[in-house]
């Protein structure tokens, strides 16, 4: 594709960097993914569906950079007119939940997980990412339940 369409701006500046970044992520190379998507930065809001922003958010998550990841996922949620019908608009809620969990903000993480699970309440139950989300949410609930009495005690 790169060789066949060297002058196709959308391909060269949107799809190819995004595909390459997704491949880098699949190989657990988050730094490379972020670097590859750098080419998108000047016009990331000019691209439909904001898929590069979603992939970059995933890369930041893999790097353990919850704050920057949260910023990317929030950007997706804040621009429904660009994201439109793309599934990325829903998955961004899960990304946000994971980003908050990474930062240790369990309240916001729980809310974002709930948003995602509500949006996918009628989803096919065997989707891998849905199963992961449910497990993560259950763990979060469990850890919160364990710490709640301490919070209760502190507030008295």
């Amino acid at each position: 594709m790169d060789k066949s369409f060297p002058l196709n701006t959308v391909l060269q500046r949107y799809w190819l960097p995004t595909i390459r970044a997704a491949v880098a992520l699949h190989r657990k190379n988050a730094d490379k993914a972020v670097e590859l998507l750098g080419v998108m930065s000047p016009h990331e809001l000019g691209a439909p569906w904001l898929i590069p922003v979603y992939v970059r958010g995933q890369a930041y998550l893999m790097q353990g950079n919850g704050r920057t990841a949260a910023s990317d996922f929030q950007m997706i949620i804040d621009h429904p007119g660009l994201v439109r019908l793309s599934v990325v608009g829903v998955l961004a809620h899960l990304g946000l939940a994971r980003a908050y969990a990474l930062q240790g903000d369990t309240t916001k993480a729980r809310a974002a997980y709930q948003d995602f699970l509500t949006l996918w309440k009628d989803a096919d139950p065997d989707i891998p990412i849905l199963k992961e989300a449910k497990e993560e949410y259950a763990k979060l609930q469990l850890s919160t339940a364990v710490t709640l009495p301490l919070h209760d005690r502190a507030s008295r």
Binding site: P48, G89, V90, E132
Partner: protein
């Protein structure tokens, strides 16, 4: 946006100019202005696949499921409308109903293998996404 406005001024009977301008407004989340442009097209009795798609996206962004269903019924009564089928498949995928999305995209007469890959890749089933991508390269 300016170019879309100018194109519409120059050719007010071209339905694509309304679709393009409403698309600009939709991208900026300026739903009322997008709706006004689409109403202008309707007042002129203009219709096209792109206009139908824009109306569907507008209804989605407004959370107007009744209008989405009405538009889907309109589309179903017409000969193959590829963009619209794609929208419906994306809508199913958005709600996590991947099986339904897959069925819509593999209906007889409708081939969009790259759509399948696009939908399935973020779902975490990399094996399936890879198979679909290979099929897309072969077809296209």
């Amino acid at each position: 946006m300016e170019e879309a406005r100018e194109a519409l001024r120059l050719q007010p009977d071209n339905e694509e100019n309304y679709a393009n301008l409403s698309d600009c407004y939709l991208s900026l989340d300026r739903l009322d202005e997008a709706e006004a442009v689409l109403k202008q097209a309707a007042d002129r009795k203009l219709e096209s696949e792109d206009l139908l798609s824009s109306r569907y996206v507008l209804a989605f962004l407004k959370g107007d499921t009744g209008e989405m269903e009405r538009l889907a019924a309109t589309a179903a009564s017409k000969p193959l409308i590829e963009d619209f089928w794609r929208h419906q498949a994306f809508m199913e995928a958005r709600q996590g109903r991947l099986r339904n999305a897959r069925e819509l995209l593999t209906r007889p007469g409708f081939i969009c293998p790259h759509c399948l890959g696009l939908i399935e890749a973020p779902f975490g089933d990399t094996q399936r996404a890879r198979t679909d991508a290979a099929a897309a390269v072969e077809v296209e």
